[in-house]
């Protein structure tokens, strides 16, 4: 187990290096001069432009810029935002909690609803409840998040007035000992639901397929033959053994939700990391983009590691080697 963990952690280093290099390379070849944005847009003093380029090393040859960037990262320094003049680590630390809260809430909704729907589908396989749920899942998978978000906002905020349309709320509690403020629950509902619908369909389809597979196993058939209650068989015997593929999908989805919350954050003015990165791209605030994407990649890797560890816990036949 410890050997497995050590190998995985060591394996992260080349992955992160590759990620960092790809991010840096893409941003480097991106058209658009950060100095022109920083110097004031349409009207910029040429002296100020030159000073900004020199100050941020934007005139340096590409290899020097790249090595300088790697050197900073090796010292744990994500750099300073061109635009805000603040350390990127602070900017990422401010925005990341909102994204994590949103993604985890969405995942919980998707997991509970998706597995529940998968159970009902599997229990009524090839009958109308299964068809209805499968159709509904397909619709959810097909709909763009942006559209779902706007429609939910129009219905539940504008029309019915049950929930706030936008934002994080102003009066959420702070986590003691930190500067992190939690969102107000009513503000979380619509964004979390929007994001959950994005992965709910996937979870339902995988849960259904996995459960159908398990439900064909002899030990399940013998449980039914012994007269065990169907609900008990589904929940206690089948579900646990069907969880490995479901956990895989949830793990991948969590990582995707962390990175893919951009549209939802944009629609609902959610102050998360996705929105920060997109803004950074528009403003060519390269250190913010690099730091933010790096952080999301690291989260992706950690989530994958946790999923691998979960396998052994869920199915003792799987050994981590």
């Amino acid at each position: 187990m410890s050997g497995f963990l050590l190998r995985r952690i060591l394996g992260v280093v080349p992955v992160l290096w590759a990620v960092v290099t790809v991010i840096w390379g893409i941003l480097f070849i991106l058209p658009g001069d950060p100095a022109a944005i920083l110097a004031g847009g349409f009207r910029a003093d040429p002296q100020v432009l030159a000073r900004i380029r020199a100050e941020w090393g934007l005139d340096d040859p590409a290899p020097r810029q790249y090595l300088h960037y790697l050197g900073r990262l090796a010292h744990g320094d994500l750099g300073v935002s061109y635009l805000q003049g603040r350390p990127v680590a602070h900017i990422v630390a401010e925005a990341l909690p909102a994204t994590v809260i949103l993604a985890v809430s969405a995942l919980l909704i998707a997991a509970l609803a998706g597995v529940g729907m998968g159970l009902v589908s599997a229990a009524h396989a090839k009958r109308w409840p299964d068809d209805l749920i499968s159709f509904f899942s397909l619709v959810l998978i097909s709909l763009p998040v942006f559209w779902i978000g706007m429609m939910l906002m129009l219905a539940f905020a504008s029309r019915l007035g049950w929930l706030p349309a936008l934002g994080y709320g102003l009066d959420g509690p702070r986590i003691p000992g930190t500067t992190i403020r939690l969102p107000e629950a009513r503000h979380l509902v619509l964004p979390a639901l929007t994001l959950a619908l994005f992965s709910l369909g996937n979870v339902q389809r995988v849960a259904r397929a996995s459960l159908l597979d398990v439900l064909q196993q002899p030990y399940i058939l013998s449980s039914f033959a012994r007269g065990a209650a169907p609900l008990r068989v589904h929940l206690r015997s089948a579900l646990r053994n069907a969880l490995v593929p479901i956990v895989t999908v949830l793990g991948i989805d969590l990582a995707a939700l962390l990175g893919g919350a951009v549209a939802t954050e944009f629609v609902f003015a959610w102050p998360g990391l996705g929105k920060t990165i997109v803004r950074g791209i528009a403003d060519r605030d390269l250190p913010v983009v690099e730091g933010g994407v790096l952080c999301l990649c690291a989260a992706f890797i950690v989530v994958n590691l946790l999923v691998d560890l979960c396998y052994a816990w869920l199915d003792p036949r799987i050994r981590l080697q």
Partner: protein, 545 residues
């Protein structure tokens, strides 16, 4: 029954037209708590008045900071602010400012002439890298200080704690106007001298509001400053919510979560019909045009071609149909309301036949031999529609144009180039808003060859006669003597040189709830709506955002 309810809910979700605008009946009495909720597209990127150069930061800076003087939002005349009075020397090169007694910064300290000297010196300090340092460059000794040849700026002298004298190296008739721009704010040294730049998180000024809360990407709260020299603002607080999604912001406004916003999404004529009491429109000193790169073919040295394009475009239809009347057709460079605006300037009427003639004179009869060029626009639906409309008009006379929509950073890079090297874009959309109400704010920056490149003259227009007229006008004090010079320069650039494709003048449009009183639209832009003069009367109780 359940099915019907479910269907009803689905209908609500699917049919976006089913919107309601629930508002409590207005009761015309001032509210107990005066909180204005406004939207900004995003976080103000840089709230150091010396280094900011964007409208979002300026909006906050104008609420937090004050300068020696300010603009009257209606007449645009320069009015006292931190300075209660001033007098000019007979040659117009020395201005002595008398500071208002008892002006306090938000940290409680009394403002003195030393703060004026510090703030102006800081703006000129090359280490600070101020983006608008040109507003003080006419001060004597500014150049020597900027190049490190002097330790201080000779022309900024405190006479006593309440008096400061500014000496100009040369007369600059609009110098007072420049001092009313946000960059000329007076800031306290003990805060803005901080090498850790704590002021970027907690700015301190002497303006009517102080920043009391700032959660980046979420909300900023400005609270009325009790010791404001102009009297405490009527609003207790201003909640500035950062909402990037304009459609979401519109919905929030409709449902009553916002009181004020200055960016609308969708058809503006529909919004004006839907919210007639909220929709306000006013003039703006701003110009919208499509620029030519005059340093490169095909526009370089080909006046007939440039004129042909000007005759080929139907401005009236562009303004009335594409922009739904939110822009007005332009005949020249100066926007109506700018001193020196010439209502008799003919400009170019829509005349496709004349355009074809000129195109032939330009060497492209019926467009033959004209190689299609890109028309660059930054990603924006309205701009894209405008570009497509111009593309169609030009195509009709035989000028092939491809619309190239890119993000703003790419767009800017393609346009600007350097003072020595022209940018890549040959034909591009451009816009210019005046920072101060003077013809110089348009003509000097857009036409003078001294400003070729990123400084403003992106089209690289150069005409020695126009340069001379602009320099001459800058050296005169009396507006009535300056105006003929500016008019002549404008006439040359428009009718002789066809410096760019003249299109339209901006207007400003905002949505403000009818219960917000004291609203004045300033032609210098919505960021200059004086927030300290607003109050709320009646209307729905402030709900949670």
């Amino acid at each position: 029954m359940r099915l019907r309810r479910a269907l009803g809910l689905v209908a609500l979700v699917v049919l976006p037209g089913g919107l309601c605008r629930c508002q409590a009946p207005h009761a015309d009495k001032p509210r107990a708590e005066q909180v204005l909720r406004m939207r900004m597209r995003e976080n103000p990127p840089d709230i150091d008045p010396a280094s900011s150069a964007d409208s979002l930061s300026d909006r906050i800076n104008l609420a937090v900071h004050d300068g020696l003087v300010d603009f009257d939002p209606v007449s645009l005349e320069v009015v006292p602010a931190v300075a209660q009075s001033w007098e000019y020397s007979p040659d117009g090169q020395e201005i002595t400012f008398h500071l208002r007694p008892g002006v306090r910064f938000h940290n409680g300290r009394v403002l003195t002439s030393a703060d004026v000297v510090y703030s102006f010196t800081r703006l000129l300090d090359p280490k600070v890298g101020a983006k608008r340092k040109e507003i003080l460059e006419a001060i004597r000794g500014a150049d020597a200080f900027g190049t490190g040849k002097a330790a201080s700026v000779e022309g900024i002298q405190p006479l006593d704690a309440q008096t400061v004298r500014i000496t100009l190296a040369r007369p600059l008739p609009h110098f007072l106007q420049l001092l009313a721009t946000p960059a000329a704010a007076i800031v306290p040294k003990e805060v803005y001298g901080d090498p850790a730049k704590g002021y970027l998180a907690q700015p301190v000024g002497c303006g009517p509001f102080r920043v009391s809360r700032w959660e980046r990407s979420s909300v900023m709260e400005l609270s009325a400053f009790g010791d404001y020299y102009g009297g405490r603002a009527k609003l207790d607080r201003i909640q500035v919510r950062f909402i990037e999604n304009p459609a979401g912001a519109m919905e929030e406004y409709r449902r009553g979560g916002l009181d004020y916003m200055d960016e609308m999404v969708g058809s503006e004529s529909s919004i004006a019909r839907e919210l007639p009491q909220d929709y306000r429109k006013g003039p703006m000193l701003g110009s919208f045009y499509f620029g030519f790169n005059l340093a490169r073919p095909p526009f370089k040295g080909n006046v007939s071609l440039r004129k042909a394009l000007n005759y080929a475009v139907d401005r009236k239809s562009l303004c009335e149909q594409t922009f739904e009347g939110t822009l007005t057709p332009a005949h020249g460079i100066l926007a109506p309301g700018t001193p020196g605006y010439d209502p008799d300037l003919k400009g170019y009427e829509y005349d496709p036949a004349r355009a074809r003639e000129l195109l032939a004179q330009a060497g492209y009869p019926e467009g033959k031999g004209f190689k299609a060029i890109d028309l660059w626009v930054n990603n924006n639906q309205k701009l894209l529609e405008a570009a497509q409309k111009v593309q169609a008009d030009l195509q009709a006379v035989g000028i092939p144009v491809r619309v190239k929509a890119v993000d703003f950073a790419t767009f800017l890079q393609a346009l600007q180039g350097t003072p020595e090297t022209p940018g890549e874009a040959l034909f591009y959309r451009y816009g210019w808003n005046a920072d101060y109400p003077d013809p110089d704010a348009f003509l000097y920056w857009l036409l003078h060859s001294r400003n070729i490149g990123p400084a403003g003259n992106i089209g690289r227009y150069s005409n020695p006669k126009v340069d001379r007229l602009l320099d001459q006008a800058r050296g005169l004090v009396r507006m009535e003597e300056r105006i003929p010079l500016y008019r002549e320069a404008e006439l040359i650039a428009v009718e002789e040189d066809a410096a760019w494709l003249f299109l339209a003048d901006y207007t400003q449009r905002v949505l403000i709830k009818p219960y917000v009183k004291g609203v004045v639209l300033c032609p210098l832009g919505s960021m200059r709506i004086p927030l300290d003069r607003l109050w709320l009367e009646g209307g729905p109780a402030p709900g949670k955002p």
